[in-house]
């Protein structure tokens, strides 16, 4: 009887340990996924903020564009944290300047490594300043 009780207790203890291990693994995977998602959100927030600032700068007719009377595409590479990098690239920001006409146009596109566009901002500006 006593041996049977010990046997059942050990069985319960072992099963509990197995369930706990599985649960911890699942929870760890969920926490990791959440952390990854959070990091992606932070990077996207940072990069979209920078893009909006650039777009506003370009939209202001008082500001000179970096390129005059030509079309130029500039790409900048960012890491997982949204910092400019020359190493592992996670995000690519492409700015297509078209300043050949009076109506200057620029398209800012943020893509991930699968070339999926995460954010596209189209800006144009007349050289004319509103009164």
């Amino acid at each position: 009887m006593k041996n049977k009780q010990i046997h059942f207790f050990l069985l319960e203890f072992t099963l509990s340990l197995i369930i706990l291990s599985v649960t911890l693994l699942v929870a760890l995977s969920m926490f990791t996924q959440a952390a990854k998602q959070h990091e992606e959100t932070q990077a996207l927030r940072k990069l979209s903020g920078e893009m909006a600032m650039t777009a506003e700068t370009l939209r202001n007719p008082m500001n000179e564009w970096p390129y005059q009377n030509e079309r130029k595409t500039v790409s900048t590479f960012y890491d997982v944290k949204g910092e400019v990098t020359t190493g592992v690239v996670v995000y690519i920001l492409t700015i297509d300047y078209d300043a050949r006409d009076t109506l200057r146009k620029a398209t800012l596109t943020l893509r991930d490594m699968s070339k999926k566009a995460l954010l596209t901002i189209q800006v144009n500006a007349l050289t004319e300043v509103p009164e």
Partner: protein, 156 residues
């Protein structure tokens, strides 16, 4: 191990396991749901940002297209010439603009955003016949703010 002490711990691992499983999985789920919601909210706001720039781009492009066409068509007129006939023709060609004398407003709507560009055409022909006066962006969220600035629920 005595029989009494064994009886007292029998079932304890199960209770502890259930508690730990519930709390750990609960926190993990909350963390994941929160991260997903934050990401979704950001993507929604980025879509709105894209829409606002798209509306402004379209409006300005249309303004440029229309004014540039006028400059090309009536470019032969001498500087200082009273271009009243040309202006009347321009007005007739663009009934979609809101006219007030020689001033006009054009509106472009993309989604919830409306961009209004106000400009003026000069009576006397010059190198630049149009003056851009203002460019405004407004958003319609289908809410009524007429009372105390608080949104009024209109019912289902």
């Amino acid at each position: 191990m005595r029989k009494g002490s064994l009886n007292s711990v029998f079932g304890l691992p199960t209770i502890l396991t259930v508690l730990i499983v519930l709390s750990v999985l609960g926190f993990a789920s909350l963390s994941l749901v929160s991260a997903n919601a934050e990401n979704k909210a950001l993507k929604h706001s980025l879509t709105l940002l894209e829409g606002s720039y798209e509306a402004e781009t379209k409006a300005l492009e249309y303004y440029y297209q229309v004014t540039n066409a006028y400059e090309i068509i009536y470019g032969y007129l001498p500087i200082g010439f009273n271009q009243n006939t040309a202006i009347q023709g321009f007005k007739a060609a663009h009934p979609e603009f809101t006219w007030s004398g020689n001033r006009f407003a054009l509106t472009e709507t993309v989604g919830a955003y409306t961009v209004t560009i106000s400009a003026e055409i000069h009576q006397l022909h010059s190198q630049k016949n149009f003056t851009l006066i203002s460019q405004t962006l407004s958003i319609s969220n289908d809410q009524d703010y007429t009372q105390n600035g608080d949104p009024i629920w209109k019912g289902p």
